[in-house]
């Protein structure tokens, strides 16, 4: 469990980060909390000859809660999300989900930027951000651009971010309606066997809109537009729930691992989604 030798950099500003990325290309990587990257390096599954620590780069630890939008700096930790009172009111699903990530020690280190940029299908925040229709702000040699979370994930560890770009913030429209983040895991600190992020708006007793994303059930997070659509217009009766689950199952593609075989994962995904939708509805 000893990584290959690497150079360690701790630039003071983004310009410093970008120039190091430009200089070392593929051989360089940024590090946020390090709680995904360092284990990979120790297992020698990631070789990073030039490691650029983002801790001293300013301007990425703020949480701004506006009336219509929320902006979260890339270096905001999961612990900071849990502790932010205004955020807990404006987007309670972020807190509910963060409390189900890892354990308190990891959450003091793990960042939002690292969690969404990592590209590991096990991470909880990518699906969460897709559910919330968030946008990732990245900066690179050509300047800044925005990438919708729903377009960001291409395959495991493959994202729309270029190697020389750094994620600086996540922005999202202030969520509406009821929410739920439901996750089944084997123990505290484990990645999901199946997890569902749900945000539902109720109008006049019926579902006006529903957004659903699933975690660790494919090699990317799965935003299931069809599952959400199946609920719209309904009163979340059994038929609508069944249709949403069926639509979601159509979108996921789990693989067998130590958590269990495919049939089990699909079944649990359905159960978890049902519970998440029911809870979100009760809060809508």
């Amino acid at each position: 469990m000893i990584p290959a030798a690497f150079e360690y950099y701790r630039p003071k500003d983004m310009a410093g980060v970008l120039s190091l990325l430009e200089e070392h290309g593929d051989d360089a990587r940024v590090m946020a909390g390090g709680h995904s990257l360092i284990p990979m390096m120790k297992l020698r599954m990631a070789e990073v000859p030039h490691l650029i620590d983002l801790q001293d780069v300013g301007g990425m630890t703020g949480i701004e809660v506006g009336t219509d939008t929320i902006r979260i700096g890339a270096m905001v930790t999961q612990a900071a999300i849990i502790d932010h009172a205004a955020l807990a009111v404006a987007a309670p699903i972020l807190r509910e989900a963060s409390l189900q990530i890892a354990d308190p020690q990891v959450r003091y280190m793990g960042t939002v930027g690292g969690n969404v940029a990592n590209g590991d299908p096990g991470n909880d925040m990518p699906g969460l951000m897709q559910c919330l229709d968030a946008t990732f702000v990245v900066v690179g040699p050509e300047g800044e651009r925005s990438i919708p979370a729903r377009d960001f994930y291409e395959a495991a560890y493959m994202t729309a971010r270029e190697d020389d770009e750094v994620l600086t913030a996540v922005t999202l429209p202030t969520p509406k309606g009821g929410h739920a983040y439901e996750k089944q895991k084997r123990k505290i600190g484990d990645y999901a066997t199946a997890a569902a992020a749900v945000q539902i708006v109720k109008e006049a007793g019926a579902c006006a809109s529903a957004s659903i994303a699933m975690t660790n059930l494919s090699d990317t997070p799965v935003f299931s537009e069809a599952a959400g659509a199946a609920l719209v217009g309904s009163t979340l009766d059994e038929a609508a729930l069944n249709a949403a689950v069926a639509a979601m199952l159509n979108d996921i593609d789990p693989s067998e691992d130590n958590r269990g075989p495919v049939a089990f994962k699909k079944h649990v995904a359905g159960v978890i989604l049902r519970r998440a939708v029911t809870r979100a509805w009760s809060r809508a």
Binding site: M1, I2, A4, A5, R44, D103, Q184, R186, K187, I188, G189, D190, Y191, T193, N258, R259, G260, P261, A263, F264, H267, V268, V271, I272
Partner: protein
């Protein structure tokens, strides 16, 4: 002289037996001031680490170390070829087999040690490892022991004679090249006959999966050869330091007095640190070669994938009974997967440990056990993970068979146990498979447990739950797990227990200092059990000096008396007895000194808490402190100066702790998630030395039981790749997963142990595993379940529900 303190206060001052004395170890452990082997830093110390095989079965065509030797800081790369001239490329195992220290032409399991890279620090060693080029040629892999027994693939060519015949193994004839031994206990034909003619017979096959003790601190050592004085010092994570010294002497040829083995603080052992590992041998050789101290420390993956696993028993049983439920016979066959080498850590005459305790707590007149050991392409081991030798397997087997029989009889499993328990008046009781149980009072314990949990109420609630489930009102089932276990610990009587010919006695040496404090040294070694606390309490009560004035020291073979170490719950039954006996020798001499000082005859004084008093005149006394001083400053006719004693204790019998456990569990049928609502544990470990430590031991043992029952496993794929080599997949429960345990007790002292103590460290694990498992299985009993294998992780519980048609 007027005594101002009351007798009660004098007793309290001693903090002797029965007192919940705080653990003296914890001051350093809770402040991060422990001294573990990896804390050791010596001048010029080097670091060694292994190139390990990525394959489970392969021939090694060549090893090229040139590139590794180019890495700055890498000093040497040892391979089997380097060890062979020393005769150290193989080493004996505790089970009478031999094991490669470094791969000798082939590898037999994934992670096997292939080469040892010695470098100035662990970073250089890691870089060197990457550059050792090993050319492997794949061989067919055997991960299934049943397949291994019929396969043409020979795993151990070294155990097949040139003419193709199979020489006997350490435990007799072998049936196949991949077969290690057959071990039998009991009466085969009579048992078969009883079962054939029985009114009721229940049969079951069960797999007790492979798991691992996974102590928080992994294994490691530092070897330091002093070439000037010819002495080797070996610090390491050894549960049996003296045995390690003898083994090192036997295999290295160094004289034993030139070897000093030291076990510093050990961060948990649970059986994992009993055996000898290639890392120890390679560190010693590397230190001899380089003349510098060499450290080797496993990482977590090394530990999980290569050092001793536990369990891996495929068990088939038949149990027969009358229609009323009186058990008449028991038959058990085990196919034991030992991996690539037989490195089980059992007493020599017991290749399947004490599996023959598998008649459990029941009066079973006829029984037969047969165990076949088998080689496969998995890591070697087979240690007793928080249990006496294979007792966890035995107790799991019988506690499942009882449940299966209860189903067959359509009887309540608590009642079935009750009518079959060995009765109090039957002790000492000789079981059908040979053991003589020293003492027990099972009915009292069982009744107390069932009453404490309101067993009848629980069953009524469960019946209601089943009705609700069937009516669609709930998706959660309720399971009531029962287990009643009898442990067999304290190995053991030298007449039948030895390891590599070393009798399993243990020892204690006491020195009383002139001012009335003392040091006692033992042949055992604590790995977290709190020996420094409890052994001082035994002595305090025996010799009348406060526990706080007694230092307990273990683990240094240059100072401690010879002993066989700590595992199998043997420390209190054996070394604890030695401690009491040595204390009594001190007391006998103190009595003579006291009589002299009080100017009366020896028989006219008697011991009272912390002093000797003149019989009938308690105002005339000498405290033990007075006596200690006198032993050093007075010339007493006929008595040698000083106050010291040593005792080597050969136990007349094992001790048999027992207990009654109940677990109440709710199971989510749709997700397979179990939730433990309640866990009640009644333990009878005989005399209770420190109730707080007992409670801590019970909590720890139950938590490891929960782990094993509900998810902890070492699993392999078909290619022999270990799938559970990290704590991501190897289930180690945290405070979050652990329920609130309720502990309780009865006290049935061991009749042959000097203080009546039986040992407790392992009981909760032994009794806990079947209890958790039975709770899961019981939840599904109303729907037709008889048995499903552990570990009961989410997907396997879900699979059970699914197979029973509970998902609609």
């Amino acid at each position: 002289m007027k005594d101002e303190v009351t007798r009660e206060e004098r007793v309290d001052n001693l903090k002797g037996m029965g007192c919940s004395r705080k653990r003296v170890e914890d001051a350093r452990f809770t402040q991060g001031k422990g001294n573990y082997v990896d804390d050791l830093k010596l001048d010029g110390m080097l670091f060694g680490d292994f190139v390990r095989s990525p394959y489970a079965h392969a021939r090694i065509k060549s090893i090229d170390t040139a590139a590794a030797l180019e890495v700055p800081g890498v000093l040497a790369v040892l391979t089997a070829a380097d060890l062979e001239p020393l005769g150290l490329h193989w080493m004996p195992t505790l089970a009478g087999d031999k094991q490669m220290v470094l791969a000798d032409g082939k590898v037999l399991f994934q992670g096997q040690e292939v080469a040892f890279v010695v470098a100035e620090d662990r970073f250089a060693a890691a870089d060197g490892i990457e550059l050792v080029e090993v050319d492997y040629e794949d061989l067919p892999v055997l991960v299934d022991p049943f397949e291994a027994l019929t396969s043409d693939v020979v795993l151990r060519e070294d155990l097949v004679a040139e003419d193709g015949t199979l020489p006997d193994g350490a435990h007799g004839p072998r049936k196949h090249a991949n077969h290690i031994f057959t071990w039998e206990a009991g009466d085969k034909a009579p048992t078969a006959e009883v079962i054939a003619n029985a009114e009721v017979v229940a049969e079951e096959s069960m797999y007790y999966h492979r798991t691992h003790p996974c102590p928080l601190e992994t294994c490691g050592c530092v070897a330091s050869m002093d070439k000037v004085n010819g002495k080797l010092t070996l610090w390491g994570t050894f549960q049996a330091p003296h045995a390690i010294r003898t083994i090192v002497s036997l295999i290295s040829g160094l004289e034993e007095h030139n070897i000093r083995v030291i076990s510093p603080d050990i961060g948990g052992g649970f059986g994992n640190k009993v055996g000898a590992y290639p890392g120890y041998v390679c560190s010693v050789v590397a230190s001899i070669v380089t003349g510098k101290p060499v450290k080797w420390i496993e990482d977590r993956m090394d530990n999980l994938m290569t050092t001793a696993f536990a369990r891996d028993y495929h068990m088939t049983g038949k149990i027969s009974a009358t229609k009323e439920g009186k058990i008449t016979g028991l038959q058990c066959h085990v196919t034991a997967d030992h991996g690539g080498f037989d490195a089980c850590a059992d007493p020599t005459k017991f290749p399947a440990g004490f599996m023959n305790i598998c008649t459990g707590s029941y009066d079973i007149p006829t029984a037969y056990l047969e165990v076949d050991g088998v080689y496969t392409n998995k890591a070697p081991g087979g240690v007793s993970y928080r249990c006496s030798f294979r007792v966890t397997e035995a107790v799991y087997f019988i506690e499942r068979m009882i449940e299966v029989l209860a189903i067959k009889l359509d009887m309540d499993a608590a009642e079935l146990r009750r009518i079959n328990f060995i009765r109090k008046e039957q002790f000492p009781y000789t079981a059908a498979l040979g053991w003589e149980y020293d003492s027990g009072d099972y009915h009292t314990a069982w009744d107390k447990a069932l009453k404490a949990v309101d067993y009848d109420g629980l069953r009524a609630e469960q019946a209601q739950r089943v009705a609700d489930f069937k009516a669609g009102k709930t998706r959660k089932l309720m399971g009531i797990g029962l287990s009643f276990f009898t442990e067999i610990v304290g190995a053991g009587p030298v007449k039948n227990c030895d390891i590599l010919g070393l009798g399993m006695f243990d020892s204690c040496e006491i020195r009383i200092h002139p001012t009335g404090s003392a040091i006692a040294r033992l042949g055992t070694i604590s790995q977290g059990q709190g020996h420094a606390t409890t052994f001082a309490q035994i002595l305090a009560s025996e010799i009348g000096l406060p526990a706080d004035s007694i230092t307990i020291e273990e683990g240094d073979t240059d100072t401690a008396p010879y002993g066989l170490g700590t595992y199998g719950s043997r420390s209190t039954p054996v070394a604890g007895a030695a401690t009491a006996m040595a204390g009594r020798k001190i007391r006998a001499k103190a009595q003579m000194i006291a009589a002299y000082l009080l100017e009366v005859h020896d028989d006219d004084v008697e011991f009272d808490v912390d002093r000797f008093v003149v019989k009938g005149a308690p105002e005339r006394f000498k405290t033990m402190k007075d006596i200690a001083f006198a032993a050093y400053n007075q010339a007493i006719p006929g008595i040698e100066p000083g106050l010291e004693a040593v005792s080597y204790y050969d136990p007349p019998n094992m001790t048999y702790p027992f207990g009654a456990y109940v677990c109440v569990m709710d199971i989510d049928v749709d997700t397979g998630v179990p939730e433990i609502r309640r866990f009640y544990a009644l333990d009878d470990c005989g005399t209770r030395i420190n109730p707080m430590i007992i409670e801590g031991q019970v909590h720890g043992g139950l938590t490891e039981a929960l782990a094993v029952a509900l998810g902890q496993e070492i699993a392999y794929d078909d290619m022999g790749n270990c799938k559970t080599g990290t704590l991501m997949d190897f289930f180690l429960p945290t405070a979050w997963e652990v329920p609130n345990y309720e502990t309780d007790f009865t006290v049935t002292p061991s009749p042959h142990h000097p203080i009546g103590a039986k040992g407790v460290g392992e009981s909760p694990h032994v009794g806990g595993v079947p209890c958790f498992s039975n709770a899961v299985q019981d939840a599904f009993r109303p729907f037709g379940n008889t048995h499903t294998n552990m570990p009961h992780d989410h997907w396997r519980i879900w699979k059970t529900a699914n197979a029973l048609g509970l998902h609609g």
